[in-house]
């Protein structure tokens, strides 16, 4: 009984300290600004459904800002809509429209300045310049937001979720479309990107720079201007992401540039012009990924080292692997290649002769792109067959010495 009172007292106590403050047309506080002014740390501000023009709304106390029935905050195409400048802030359930556009300041829908433990969830952002911007955040969560921009030019648009300098961020379950970059990470450590859908963005679905020890899982990147780009980062882990329909000469399912010690498993690459483009990538381990119906499954430049590909499935790609030189410091083993024409005499499900995934014609197309128009003609098939028997142009060491006879998984 004593315990019961104690617990009861605790609940009662916390309840009493945190007040609920309401803002709305029929409340004491007609606008959100005055409601926040009246609030103290730990309070909850409920905002009724309605249309609010608050100019720039600055949240400088540790409060929960909760919208009921998606109240609309209009930035009138001039202001940054919500600026979070305190720790432990929650922004939940708003609809933010028309932020300002500026090339000097990164005006955003919601911007977090140097704060910890901020949660931004269940918001809808439409026609914002930058969507959600974390500037030097620690342990922040961005969850279940929908961001939609309608931009035409790269210069006139910002990134959907932009994280500049941060640690332990969580970006979960957001839907982003029409921005410049869907998700942008720069100098962000130990963070996770999980279950987001980033599609139809002008540049990259996901853009990573100088961000180490991050992980992204179960995301969908579809039909972005240039796919996904991961650059100058170490120890990135990628699991079960979908890279689809990134079409164009400079578009890649994923671009890996100057990446070290990465690990990729269970990703699906479908219908990209080139599924993976690697340049200066070191010690990347790729396992159990599926490459299906891509133009090039893999473009691996000679500057890559110690990249290991094993147990991947290559199905229906126009070209399996393209490269630009004869130096090969990477290892291909136990992959399934649907173009493999070898045999398996001892029935151990591993082909007895090595498979060379670089076809002669992919080398020719790399050098003379217009030659693509002759692809699949009689003469190019002949050239490919001759090259298979007597390799002269294709790198001798780029081969899978133990190709699988059936799909690797």
């Amino acid at each position: 009984m004593r315990y019961f009172f104690f617990i009861f007292f605790c609940i009662f106590y916390t309840d009493a300290s945190a007040e609920n403050i309401y803002a709305g047309a029929k409340r004491i506080h007609k606008n959100i600004r005055s409601a926040i002014k009246a609030a103290a740390n730990g309070d909850t501000v409920f905002v009724d459904a309605g249309f609010y023009k608050e100019k720039n709304l600055s949240v400088d106390k540790s409060i929960v800002l909760k919208g009921i029935g998606y109240p609309v905050l209009d930035g009138e195409r001039r202001y940054e809509i919500i600026s979070v400048k305190a720790n432990d802030v929650v922004v939940d359930g708003f609809r933010l429209i028309h932020s300002g556009i500026s090339s000097l300041e990164d005006l955003s829908g919601i911007k977090v300045y140097d704060s910890q433990n901020v949660v931004i969830r269940n918001n809808i952002l439409e026609d914002t310049f930058f969507g959600i911007y974390i500037q030097n955040g620690l342990n922040c969560t961005i969850e279940n937001n929908t961001l939609k921009a309608i931009s035409i030019e790269e210069q006139q648009s910002g990134n959907g979720i932009h994280c500049w300098k941060g640690d332990s961020l969580r970006v979960i379950g957001n839907k982003i479309s029409g921005h410049r970059d869907g998700i942008y990470f720069e100098f962000v450590k130990n963070s996770v990107i999980w279950r987001n859908i980033s599609k139809n963005n002008l540049r990259y679905g996901l853009h990573f720079m100088f961000s180490n020890d991050d992980m992204y899982v179960n995301n969908v990147f579809r039909n972005n201007g240039s796919g996904v780009s991961v650059m100058y980062s170490n120890r990135i882990k990628m699991f079960s992401n979908y890279f689809e329909e990134n079409w164009g000469d400079a578009a890649h399912g994923i671009l890996l540039k100057e990446i070290s010690d990465g690990y990729m498993e269970g990703n699906y690459f479908t219908k990209n012009t080139s599924a993976i483009y690697m340049e200066g990538a070191n010690r990347i381990h790729m396992k159990r990924n599926v490459f299906e119906n891509n133009g090039w499954a893999l473009k691996i430049q000679a500057s890559c080292m110690d990249v290991v590909l094993e147990y991947n499935n290559f199905i229906g790609n126009t070209f399996d692997v393209g490269t630009n030189g004869s130096l090969v410091l990477n290892r291909f083993t136990n992959n399934y290649w649907d173009k493999y024409e070898g045999y398996d005499l001892n029935k151990d499900k591993i082909g007895d002769i090595p498979y060379r995934p670089v076809s002669m014609y992919s080398m020719i197309v790399e050098k003379y792109p217009p030659a693509m128009i002759l692809f699949r003609s009689f003469i190019t098939t002949l050239l490919d067959k001759t090259e298979k028997i007597l390799p002269s142009l294709t790198p001798e060491n780029l081969k899978d010495s133990a190709p699988m006879m059936n799909k690797a998984f």
Binding site: K271, G295, T318, Y368, P369, I373
Partner: protein
Amino acid sequence: MNKIIKYVITDILRNKIVVIYTVFLLAASFSVFSLEDNSSKGRLSLLNIILIVVPLVSIIFSTIYMYNSVEFIELLVSQPLKRRSIWLSLFAGLASSLSIAFFIGAGIPVLIYQANMIGFTMILTGIILSVIFAAIAFLATVKMRDKAKGIGAAIMLWLYFSLLFDGLVLFLLFQFADYPMEKPMIGLSALNPIDLSRILILLQLDVSAMMGYTGAVFKDFFGTSTGLVFSFFVLLSWIVIPVWYSTRKFNTKDL
């Protein structure tokens, strides 16, 4: 005219070669679709059949058939019939029987296994190629009186269109590698019906690879409705011009 077409078709059917060709196509198409574990490889094998076997059979069979029916043609010419209608009905009979053979042999399996845009493009280009190479065979037979020479010319023409032409294009491409060759390539492809058909199928088959910069130039041209109209117009002129020219020759030919 209809009567002559009917005679030609019944004669071809009695000949059995076209029936064997149909059965071969049927067997080949069913086996490529059912043997391979994924249909994309079956499509590729079928693409090779369409681009190599169909023109070959079409041109050789038409040439030999025309040489063998010299007496029949002479008989027809002695009747009160216009030479033009004799020639055109011979062409119509041959072309239609070859197209029907292709449609039954390859079209039906494609419709069963690949009833999509790729399949329809394949069937359409296969039929058009059958007709085009019959037309080219007519041109060869009207130009050469000697049978051996005519068949030789037909084989050379097939070799040129399916192999030598692409070799020349590749050579040109390497020679002019420093210049933007995308647009001239489109023009060059119009000079070879096999190339044009291949590109039309390629745009469906390897759409991801074709979305690269150069491919996008081709896609922007052939993928749009103007491009499609252009390519079918070019393919059509590959039928009309040889037939028209050979008809003119046949009208004044001393048999």
